[in-house]
């Protein structure tokens, strides 16, 4: 890794996955990495399910992130 990791506040300022992040990959390939982080990887069922009115908030949040990524990647 070159240089310190960005803080959470700095990461929130990342405008899009197209920004240069050398460790994770640049340009369009970063959207593929985010797909992996959000939809692949081993699933360890946690004992905490955050929900409102029966809706899993983690699942809902992940779907919203993926929708945003899809919209941006169509523009790449």
């Amino acid at each position: 890794m070159n240089g310190p990791l960005p803080s959470a506040a700095e990461r929130r300022n990342l405008r899009a996955p197209t920004d240069e992040t050398p460790r994770l990959g640049g340009d369009a390939s970063l959207v593929d990495l985010l797909d992996r982080v959000l939809e692949r990887g081993v699933t360890i069922t946690g004992d905490v399910v955050l929900s409102v009115a029966g809706v899993d908030l983690v699942h809902l949040g992940v779907r919203l992130i993926l929708t945003g990524i899809d919209e941006r990647s169509e523009a790449l």
């Binding site: 990791l5 990461r11 990342l14 593929d32 990495l33 990887g41 360890i44 809902l60």
Partner: protein, 226 residues
């Protein structure tokens, strides 16, 4: 509240200073496994920034030890609960860790757009006021056309990367969110050269995007590594 990043056989030599919500990742021994986690007073925000933070921690861990990346969003009440949940899966996790070994993932994707801009046809949204049958037929035609383009792109992708497959320990062909993709599980020492070669052999493939080397997110099940 525990956020889980990765499962390893040995503790990583070093961990990044911050992870999800700026919390410090730590290694926790669970039986013969090591879990990389961060602890939080409140549930971590489900955001793109935190997904990237998760990816950064997993990438850092996998730089120094054999790692199974955990899908973002695995939360456990406390360390006792984490131990109980991991011990339940310990045998299969060890089996998968041994199958993956010290390998990285490289992917080549052939992008297929939702609608072909070259097609001489109004977009489905322009047909929304048409009678229902005509509208649905238009949608069906669009989807069928996309499937045909995806199959053609997948065939071209397989042909372009055929020479790479023999260098990989495992290959997975999947229908990705942006088009067909071929993921390769590659020994760490060959991963950078493999990614460079993947870019070279697909340079003339329309819409080709190469990603990695990354931790082996796509190869975390028994069948994926066989």
């Amino acid at each position: 509240m525990i956020h889980l990043y990765a499962v390893c056989r040995q503790a990583p030599h070093e961990l990044p200073a911050t992870g999800v919500d700026d919390a410090a990742p730590v290694a926790v021994e669970v039986g013969s496994l090591v879990a990389v986690v961060s602890e939080h007073e409140r549930p971590p925000e489900v955001s793109e920034a935190n997904a990237l933070a998760h990816a950064e921690v997993v990438a850092s861990v996998s730089d120094t030890t054999t790692t199974l990346p955990v899908r973002f969003g695995s939360h456990h009440l406390d360390r006792a609960a984490l131990r109980a949940n991991l011990e339940e899966r310990q045998a299969s996790l060890i089996r998968t860790l041994e199958a993956v070994g010290d390998a990285r993932e490289v992917v080549v994707r052939a992008t297929v757009r939702a609608d072909d801009p070259s097609a001489d046809r109004p977009a489905p949204s322009d047909q929304a006021d048409a009678p229902g049958r005509a509208y649905m037929e238009e949608r069906l035609a669009t989807e069928t056309e996309r499937r045909v383009r995806e199959e053609a792109a997948g065939t071209a992708l397989a042909a372009a990367t055929a020479t790479l497959a023999s260098r990989a320990r495992a290959v997975r062909d999947l229908r990705g969110r942006r088009g067909p993709e071929r993921s390769f599980l590659v020994p760490r020492e060959d991963a950078e050269a493999f990614a460079a070669d993947a870019r070279a052999v697909t340079v003339d493939l329309p819409g080709a995007v190469t990603g990695g080397p990354w931790p082996p997110y796509t190869f975390t099940t028994d069948e994926a590594t066989s």
